[in-house]
Symmetry: C3
Amino acid sequence: MSMTLSEVCELVGGELRGDGALVVERLAALDQADEGSLVFAFDPAAVVQAEASGAGSAVVRTGCQCALPHIVVPDVRKAQSVLLRAFQPPRPAPTGVHPTAVLGEGVVVGSDPSIAPYAVIGAGTVLGARVVIGAHTVIGERCAVGDDTILKPHVTLYDGVRVGARCTIDSGAVVGADGYGFTHDGGQHQLVPQIGGVVIEDECEIGANTCIDRATLGCTRIGAGTKIDNLVMVAHNVRTGRHCLLISQVGVAGSTTLGNGVVLAGQVGVADHLDIGDGVMVGAQSGVAKSAAPGQRLMGTPALPGIEFHRMMAALTRLPDMMREARRAEREARAAAGQESGG
Amino acid sequence: MSMTLSEVCELVGGELRGDGALVVERLAALDQADEGSLVFAFDPAAVVQAEASGAGSAVVRTGCQCALPHIVVPDVRKAQSVLLRAFQPPRPAPTGVHPTAVLGEGVVVGSDPSIAPYAVIGAGTVLGARVVIGAHTVIGERCAVGDDTILKPHVTLYDGVRVGARCTIDSGAVVGADGYGFTHDGGQHQLVPQIGGVVIEDECEIGANTCIDRATLGCTRIGAGTKIDNLVMVAHNVRTGRHCLLISQVGVAGSTTLGNGVVLAGQVGVADHLDIGDGVMVGAQSGVAKSAAPGQRLMGTPALPGIEFHRMMAALTRLPDMMREARRAEREARAAAGQESGG
Amino acid sequence: MSMTLSEVCELVGGELRGDGALVVERLAALDQADEGSLVFAFDPAAVVQAEASGAGSAVVRTGCQCALPHIVVPDVRKAQSVLLRAFQPPRPAPTGVHPTAVLGEGVVVGSDPSIAPYAVIGAGTVLGARVVIGAHTVIGERCAVGDDTILKPHVTLYDGVRVGARCTIDSGAVVGADGYGFTHDGGQHQLVPQIGGVVIEDECEIGANTCIDRATLGCTRIGAGTKIDNLVMVAHNVRTGRHCLLISQVGVAGSTTLGNGVVLAGQVGVADHLDIGDGVMVGAQSGVAKSAAPGQRLMGTPALPGIEFHRMMAALTRLPDMMREARRAEREARAAAGQESGG
């Protein structure tokens, strides 16, 4: 993969400064650049680093000067995304089914599969076309995996899990383990059998070591286009809308529903049986204990509308000084009263 | 598995309304029901959904009317648990030892085993009767696994771990990794060897991707009947009592002891070397920094008795208005003083 | 492994009380001791337990009396660390390459390897001398693993990950998954290809089920001697300095830089694109939202300097009483004013 600086410029819709015939062989970070590299300078300080990096060319922000052949764009990050897509290595050719893969009875494998060593696929599972199954990935019985979906190494799907098309599931993710539901009897806990399923719709990403539990009855459901980061917990019977973002270490408790386009920042917890409206955004580490109307911005534990949270934090920050001041005033008042009564 | 509505009614101890000879073939969620399905309506709104669901019958709460043949019970959730147990699929027949499983020297396998493809079991390990070992599960040397215990695919037990009878360990759980103990010398950290073990007593559940570290000396111990959810961290030398509940993403630091029946809600952290009494319950996301007497209800970070926490949060919520009011009163007092002195 | 009590005494630099010829066969916890055992008593109560434990000898703190043959030291924990190192079992002899391991084209294996059953190593990967690769561990293509490094069972390294010498990576860790970077277009999210790498320098420990994502461009980097606990999330393009400690369930968001010797306690979250100075220590469950100067001690969410945090918490604790008092004073003032105006 390589292109000329002119071609790069056309792709990102920028303004060319310098030799358009220059060949760009790769994109690079500022500390790993060589003559064939194009680097990205997100601010004026980075332009100086870019000039000293050994890179052959750069993308810089409107208004920045640069001594290298460069392209000027209003939004360097957007240009970077476009070029990362252009320069990404092509998807490898299908590798077929490795002889050590164990396929149960009645497994259906679509066209052009890539099934890596030691994959284990349970009876009755159906794989779509061009599916990639990583080494050691275990798929239970009666599962379905859609076209072009990639399961990285060491993924586990329990029985009956359904994954849509064009999804990626990262290593260590566990989909379909029993939900954490117990009845309590005389101080003891007995598991309630979890006989429902999990449905992951099309174009979802499920991060490494993330867990999505199966439903008690019915399905735990991840809406199309939802992107879930690493180490996230999605409990039984949760339903997310389309295009949600669940950032690392988030936990969503049982039977809670997220609308479309909900964003939960890192380490957020959402309690069980809540209804979180479309477009709700929750700040990092917040704890959501009540249902939320569409479009709310929430922060804190228990989570409040952002404006209330900031007002409360501002007051809390002033509190120690205010208390000291109040005690001083009280002491003065007492002293004055003492003088009066003693005078 | 199927039974008549009369049989279902007898099982849950409810009141039958409609045709007791109706055959119930399965339990279903409201959005997946057909004629052979029995559904559960937890509230009046759900009764309407049930009637429209296509289900053949329903379980409803005392006081609810329903157009379908139905059973009336005071506690729908309890009835659901009973029926989920009755309708759960029978445990599959033992599958024996798959030829690709690798068993070390001196491994003892009990009667009627199910050992799936690519399981690896270290030398000297002893497995009880009817044990189920999932695909790719790795068991170290000199481990013990009790009768009827199930290790799902991709579980890892390090050397010397002992798991009791009738336990379930979910995929991705790692039991017996070295505790996080270091000595610090001139800004560098050197691992303290962790030569103790882990004991999981009978009837425990260990969730997916949960980690239980081995002890420095002695044992990390999970008490009988304790249920641990997904992505939980149990550090070295922790001891839990019997019948504890540790909900998802909880972390318990080194050498802390939990009494019997302790409940830690989601994302709770408990500091090291603490003593948490029997029956203590800690609210979600709380951080426990001090030992707690039996029966306490704790909330917040640092965790306080629930009543103090709620009182503090109520005060905090009123704080911004109180401060604004105080500033207004001060301005008025100044203005009044100014008028007096200027008058 | 065994030594006399005199030899033990010399090793820890303590004072011997009793028979120096006594043979110490093992170190033990107080509840697992026998005649051949040496136990550790960290406080006077533990000395009583030690005497009743059946142990043959003990290490006790300066000033404690003990009826067993014993060694007196000023710091029992330090003595324990020294002895744990002395008594730890020797590293097992290399086991070679198991015939079920799958090695891709051009894999280079150093001298004296131990590669366990079902390990899968991608094309072009280079392993140093005396490397230990656990059962089922999957290493991608073009990776490098340094001398004497141990990857436990079920580790996953994606393509191009570089691990230094003398590291340990625990089970379930996932290194090199795609960073969580998306562009947002009309409410939809599209993955930004992550074509950078991960570098783990020498003498690092990476805990069980921890995730370290690959960089967008350049490298995510873990500095030499850094110890990362279980279930930690390190996002794309994060860089840690040397000798950092990241305790269980910590999350560090994208592009944040940690200096040398930074300590993040359990469940801490650090926001993206921050610069955390050398030696910064952050208390458990804190949320760091701003960059921090070297040496700061931070606590709370959002994190404050420890002294400010404690001052704020102290004020907050007094707040409910202060408010009640203020309301009482106001009522009295009103009552007094009413009497006056009515009088």
